[in-house]
Amino acid sequence: MTLKTPTRRGALGLLGAAAAALTLGAPAQAQVDFSGKTVEWIIPFGTGGGSDTWARFNAPFLSKHLPGNPTVVVVNEPGGGSTRGTNLFAQRARADGLTILGTSGSTQFPYLLGDPRVRYEYQDWSVVMVGPTGGVAYVSPSTGVESIDDVAKLQGQRLVYASQGATSLDLVPMLAFRLLGLDVNYVFGFGGRGDGRLAFERGETNIDYQTSSAFINNVTPLVEAGTAIPLMSWGVLDEDGNPQRDPTFPDLPILEEVYEMVHGEAPSGPMYEAYKAFNTAGFAAQKMVVLPAGASEELVETYRQAWRDVFADPDYQATFVAALGSYEQVTDRAAEALFAAGTNIDPDVRAMVVEMLAEEYNVRLGD
């Protein structure tokens, strides 16, 4: 894992230059042809999960818009919290465009945290597409909170949260709650956010978060029934990497706003930096499609063009909201900005998070 700033900046500069060259002149028209070939899309997760469904939804569109209409097959390589399949890709994949990787927040997190099982380096790869998602935190009315204006009431209360583990995507709410000065007791060992929501509905926990589509389908009825009070969303990043309200939940404030309500100033400091890095890696840049190390400019452009065409495909537009939610998948500069923000972390911030995890939650990354 490269954490030396010069290298990273160098890599980013190169990517930026490449992007600039492409947008300016688009020098070489894509001459790659995949006729009769099979593109293997490695998904380091099992069948049936979020990443698998995401890839399987996208695969036929990608096949339709890549030159030569190759067969695009999703190859599941689960294990080690997605590090196994990703390591395999890093080690084996050739830069011929016939092997691509789809990552998720759970692939980014161990990389950012320096998990010893990680033997891949994001900065070696070229990003061709990023699929964002969002999330919403909510509390039980038993906390006395009736709307976000009562957020101050949460302080000093003993809140309970059902977590999948301190190094899972739940790290994002964990950091957010910490920034707001909430005293949250994390109960671990939940199999997924769905199980966590069940614990909330049973009244075992009083604070929870769900990704956007789960929130809309399963928490909105609770909100209507008055048994859940939405607090805030994780927001989205604009093209310059600034946090904005989530267009799916325009009425909900984002953490930055709530922080100001609570503390009277805009958030800053290493804890906020940590939140930003993991929030981006976990949500705004949750799903990424990358080409292996050494992919030529031409190949990268071929893939980006394919995604541009996919996004313009009326069939895609007609179906993607129902299957994936209302977050637009992006390529080109927007994808690069998200990629950079979601795969880089200041070494000091990282050290702080690792230390916090070790001290408070017994997480030992090096074993």
């Binding site: 060992g189 049973r202 389908n217």
Partner: protein, 668 residues
């Protein structure tokens, strides 16, 4: 509601819908027959066809697939002793002995008919409860789930075999093996020894194959005959249907158990079959022969595992939480179709819910009908000399094993658990007890920790917990009365082969292999205790207590072995009994060596090259088949595996050769 219910039926009864459902059923049947492949592999095949399909037709197809898998996976369990999936592990216990007795067709048709009844009851439960199930599902908190895990563990009492002490020790062994990997409370890694593979824990399918399939293959290879002892199939499929009819009350009860447990998210479908089997053992009074080919031991788990799918759809549809592996896949399919499960499934999408109900019921009928029709021709496999069947079975279990994580490690761990299974079988350590411990280890630990976190120790006084506790106490009491033994009557009555001398020295002489095995188990518990002591409090408390308990009971076993009288219940060694029966047996290690050979060849040259080499070597050297026969069988098996792999976009585990050179598919 009724009109929605009926209009859903009229929707589904069109030719097109039935056609798509039939596709789902047939694909599910073909996939399910193959051990290790199930809903997950089926979905991968179906996905490309889901695009642009009408929602209700696509649902019919997916349900057809999901519903038939717990029916068709019975073939492998009954005919070959290979657990077809985690849902039909208990079926092996009596189904395979029936096949050995030449009653394969009867066992299969009883199983399929029971599956049919179970599937229909699952659909009825889904229909009746879908509107009111929400509060019921919410009533099962971590506290109740913990108690249910304890209830599952109490089945060890029933499945312990001749010696309860050994049963408890074996269960503890399973609990420790099951706690390998990340600790639920803290995420710290236990007993991983720096091996990447162990970080995720050992996959259930590998434990199941290693404990049940490998020992049977080894045993049959040593006996060198066909699976069936008789040359004809005897009582046919009509008998099996009569068996179910005669035991209708048991079938209904087990279906109910299956639907209920399937509906509780978090317990998972993996214990349903064991609980149903245990229930049958506890309640059947009329001449029980469980473990030696009692048809009721087939009916119970098979009715339960089909009913489980109907129950499992409740949390899947209402909360978007999959009740098990196949349901996770179904959920993925629904999302691709643009249906988001949740409360809307009993509101604006009620018509879809009822489409699912009807599809489930019809698919069960279609699936069971097809399977019953196939039962007789397929059960003829049990008449083939085993040495011709063995290479297929060894390849099949290896192929099934590496469905777990698609690495060579899967095969190595399969071999290791296989060796464990062979010796557990030989020394009368009950393998089902280990499996139950393994399955419930994580659940028991997680839910106990969560219950204490949420409710404190007062969780024990919750009404639901007290009720389940009462049921558990009853089950233990019943279990102590009716214990099932894997040992045949001959084995139970066998007189220990030994000289007349008594006392520890003579015991050690006569029982040296058993004592060595128990000592190894004790050493394993020692490793478990040592490892647990390295963890933080929350990470160590559960495995530490279990390892200490296991060490204590294993020490008891050792003490009985060394100090016990001749023919003590703890002493058991099938080698002695075989000697007493005068059956000539080939060597155990020789049979194991064949399995090891395939694994080793895979490590060197990758699976496909290894498969071909292994087949030719086995058929020529061991089975002494003609070149023509060798050629046909090798080509057949290779072709089959390659077809399957290409249909499922599957990669084979590679070996040293693949690390050094890039080879084209299928050698890559």
């Amino acid at each position: 509601m009724i009109d929605v219910f009926l209009s859903a039926l009229s929707n589904i009864l069109t030719l097109q819908h039935m056609g798509y459902m039939m596709i789902g059923v047939i694909v599910g049947l073909m996939i399910g027959v193959f051990p290790g492949l199930g809903g997950i592999a089926g979905l991968s095949l179906m996905i490309p066809f889901l695009y642009g399909m009408d929602t209700t037709m696509a649902l019919a197809m997916l349900i057809g697939l999901v519903a038939v898998i717990p029916t068709s996976d019975t073939f492998a369990s009954v005919l070959m002793g290979i657990p077809g999936s985690s849902a039909s592990q208990a079926t092996v216990l009596d189904g395979f002995p029936m096949a050995k007795k030449g009653e394969a067709a009867r066992a299969l048709s009883a199983a399929f008919f029971a599956s049919l009844v179970g599937g229909l009851i699952g659909a009825v439960v889904l229909t009746g409860f879908v509107l009111v199930a929400r509060p019921v599902i919410l009533a099962f908190s971590s506290a109740e789930l913990f108690m249910l895990s304890v209830f599952g563990l109490s089945m060890v009492g029933v499945l312990a075999g001749k010696s309860l002490v050994k049963g408890v020790a074996a269960c503890a062994l399973g609990l420790i093996i099951g706690s390998v990997g990340g600790a639920p409370a803290t995420g710290e890694f236990r007993m991983v020894f720096g091996v990447d593979y162990l970080y995720d824990g050992i996959p259930l399918i590998i434990i199941g194959l290693g404990l049940f399939a490998v020992p049977e293959i080894v045993d049959l290879l040593r006996r060198d005959r066909a699976i069936s002892e008789r040359a004809t199939l005897g009582a046919g499929w009509f008998q099996g249907i009569r068996d179910v009819a005669r035991n209708w009350w048991l079938t209904l009860r087990c279906s109910g158990i299956g639907a209920l447990i399937g509906a509780i998210p978090g317990l998972g479908g993996t214990v349903v079959d064991w609980i149903a089997y245990g229930h049958a053992v506890q309640t059947v009074k009329n001449d029980p022969k469980f473990g030696q080919g009692d048809v009721r031991g087939v009916i119970a788990p098979e009715s339960a595992n089909n009913a489980k799918e109907g129950g499992g759809l409740l949390p899947t549809l209402l909360f978007g939480i999959p009740g098990g592996g196949a349901m996770a896949v179904f959920l993925g399919g629904m999302v691709l179709l643009g249906i988001q499960p949740g409360p809307s499934m009993v509101g604006s999408n009620l018509d879809l819910t009822y489409t699912i109900v009807w599809s489930l019921a019809l698919a069960n009928v279609l699936g069971a009908g097809l399977c019953i029709a196939l039962a007789i021709p397929i059960s003829k496999l049990t008449l083939i000399p085993f040495k011709l069947l063995a290479p297929f079975m060894i390849v099949v279990i290896c192929f099934a094993a590496f469905q777990a994580t698609r690495t060579l490690d899967d095969l190595i761990v399969l071999l290791a658990t296989g060796v464990l299974g062979v010796y557990m079988r030989r020394f009368g350590w009950p393998r089902p007890a280990l499996l139950i411990g393994f399955v419930l280890a994580t659940q028991a630990e997680t839910y106990l920790y969560q219950a204490v976190q949420f409710y404190g120790w007062e969780f024990l006084t919750r009404t639901g917990v007290m009720i389940i506790m009462g049921i558990t106490a009853g089950s233990i009491w019943l279990g102590l009365r009716a214990r099932v033994s894997e040992a045949s009557p001959a084995e139970v009555l066998a007189v220990e082969a030994r000289d007349t001398a008594t006392g520890p020295a003579a015991n050690i002489r006569a029982r040296a292999p058993q004592i060595a095995f128990a000592a190894l188990a004790l050493a394993f518990f020692g490793v478990g205790i040592h490892d647990a002591l390295q963890q933080s409090f929350l990470g160590q408390v559960f495995p530490l207590i279990m390892a200490c308990a296991g060490a204590f009971f294993t020490a008891l076993v050792l003490a009985f072995l060394v100090l016990g009288k001749p023919n003590h219940a703890v002493a058991s060694d099938t080698e002695h009994e075989a000697q007493a029966e005068g059956v000539a047996l080939r060597s155990t290690l020789g049979a194991l060596a064949w399995v090891a050979a395939l694994v080793a060849l895979t490590a060197i040259a990758g699976f496909v090259i290894a498969l071909v080499t292994f087949f030719v070597a086995f058929l020529k050297l061991r089975a002494q088949a003609s070149w023509l026969m060798t050629l046909i069988l090798t080509a057949g098996c290779t072709g089959f595996v390659l077809t399957l792999a290409s249909a499922l976009n599957m990669r084979f585990p590679g070996g040293v050769l693949q690390d050094l050179y890039r080879l084209p598919w299928p050698f890559s």
